[in-house]
Symmetry: C2
Subunit: 96 residues, 2 copies
């Protein structure tokens, strides 16, 4: 019976993984659009002040169980991936 | 006008950040429950086969724009954070 319980919890984790995948990719699309806009405006892509604000918002809204430091680490990795996506788009644009 | 466009996109990114925060924390709660169940059953917390399966599911469902390698990196960080949460719970349980 508790094996079924474990299976049920794992199934829920998998659903959350797929939700995360969807939201991370949706975020990637938005970040690509932002990159194109900034490119057109000749603005630098990386904006540490903006990144700080986003991390502060995470901190304010964190109800756990994860520590804020852990979440900040995860979000920094997500931000970095977004920035890489913008850089790739930029390189591809240069190659056209 | 395109400054408003940038603001609108940033607002959407912030909403997605908060969604990610919520799902990551919800995932953390489930992982804590799984940790307690496994502890009660005397099973090891870290399960590489299970982790592989979760990564495969991500790969199958990835529609981009992120590369699968990037997503696997992000998810590995999320898995690691979950495992740390279970370890913390275990340490706290030992201290009681």
């Amino acid at each position: 019976m508790s094996h079924n319980e474990l299976d049920a919890l794992r199934k829920q984790v998998e659903e959350l993984n797929l939700q995360l995948l969807e939201v991370i990719n949706k975020r990637g699309e938005l970040v690509q659009e932002i990159g194109k806009l900034k490119e057109a405006q000749g603005v630098n892509r990386y904006d540490p002040v903006r990144e700080r604000k986003m991390l502060d918002l995470i901190t304010e809204h964190n109800d756990g169980p994860f520590e804020t430091s852990t979440l900040q680490h995860l979000f920094k990795e997500i931000f970095k991936a977004g920035l890489e996506l913008q850089k790739d788009d930029h390189r591809k644009a240069l190659l056209v």
